[in-house]
């Protein structure tokens, strides 16, 4: 039986997809994970009181809906730092009042409920979700910022800001990522690896056919 290259490609891709889906389905327990990520300040500092920490959790319910929560912690001892032009009143307490997470929030199922928390919470479409908060003073936190999604987590960027240095804070390039929904338009590295693994035999087959062609 001769299999056309196009149909064999679809076959392998489907096989890879089915294997990946079955692998996920085989996990009997519902996802319940939590942790902490650091957002580095504008000067790249990712330790000590100048860096923000985000406590996060992702909890899956029986309907396979994932609840994402974030709590932005402003460490005690966070103070204003001087920049190159103005060094007034360094040492005054530093606050934080915005937080965002980046993923394609406009993708189908990416956000099925929320966002909630803060003074204002809104979707920025393909950019992600944004929260505007009451000033979070050093030694306090933002309270729970959350939303629900049909999509399981992958890792994405987050950032926070105030008006004065060392604001703003961010995952990129010196901080850590936080969990965000794995949307169709933003494949994670695992999906990409699986896809590439599936494509490798096809590529080899195509090259072999080309080499043996008279």
């Amino acid at each position: 039986m001769q299999i056309h290259l196009k149909s064999s490609g679809a076959l392998v891709a489907n096989a890879v997809f089915v294997a990946f889906t079955l692998c996920q389905a085989a996990e009997a327990s519902l996802l319940n994970t939590n942790g902490t990520s650091v957002l580095a300040d504008a000067y790249g500092t990712a330790t000590g009181p100048e860096a923000l920490t985000v406590s996060w959790s992702v909890v899956e319910n029986a309907l396979d809906v994932y609840t994402y929560t974030y709590v932005v912690n402003n460490p005690a001892g966070d103070v204003l730092l001087p920049d190159d032009q103005d060094a007034f009143n360094s040492g005054a307490p530093e606050i934080v009042d915005t937080y965002e997470v980046s993923f394609n929030a406009s993708a189908s199922g990416a956000v099925v409920s929320g966002p909630t928390g803060g003074l204002f919470a809104e979707s920025e479409g393909s950019g992600g979700l944004f929260w505007f908060m009451s000033p979070v003073a050093p030694g306090t936190n933002s309270g729970t910022l959350s939303f629900q999604s049909d999509d399981p987590p992958t890792l994405g960027n987050a950032s926070a800001s105030d008006a004065n240095p060392p604001s703003p804070w961010s995952s990129s390039p010196d901080g850590q990522t936080v969990p965000v929904p794995m949307t169709a338009s933003a494949p994670d590295s695992l999906n990409t690896l699986v896809w590439l693994a599936g494509m490798a035999p096809l590529l080899a087959l195509a090259l072999k056919r080309k080499a043996t062609r008279p």
């Binding site: 007034f88 965002e100 980046s102 992600g128 008006a163």
Partner: protein, 196 residues
Amino acid sequence: MKMQPTTLIVSITGAILLSGLFSPSAQAQTVISNGTATLASVDNVTADEVSVAYTVTDNSGLYTYDYIVQAPNSASVSSFNVGFDGESYTVVPGSVNGGTFGQEVTGIGVDWLVSIPAGGHSGTLSFESYEAPTVGNGNANGNPSPPAPWASTYPGGEHLPVPIPEPGTTSLLAMALLALPLRFRGHKIELNRKRN
């Protein structure tokens, strides 16, 4: 009552200082600062920068600070802040305008919640103050990151006019106030010497 010349000079100086503080002189409305500043993006890409057009108008000692924020084509902007570096300042109560929501945070600055799509710009974001402009920091945040957030502090970023009291003016006022007791003390010594 007979007043000594030195006492008179000190009184007049004090009156001038106080009049400068509490009674703004009559002036016409004048644009005293007008320009554009760049808030650099966290990824340090020029095309990802946020641009802020600003104007400061002096209306007889009452300064109006106006900002218009331009988002890059690569991201939406959801907040804009100007910072006062923790210094005491005077934002006229109720004068923060523009955006979906605006708030002043005592000693910190003024924050606006805005809704600027990629490539778009805000309306005028403004407040009033009795402090003349000096330079300060601006920050913005939005989605996605990178290129958000944006800041004066990042390499290539620029400062904005904000009402932070000039250290020179503050120091001068402090020195003048400190000099008053010394001046009175010197006057007292002179009187005692004359009596003796």
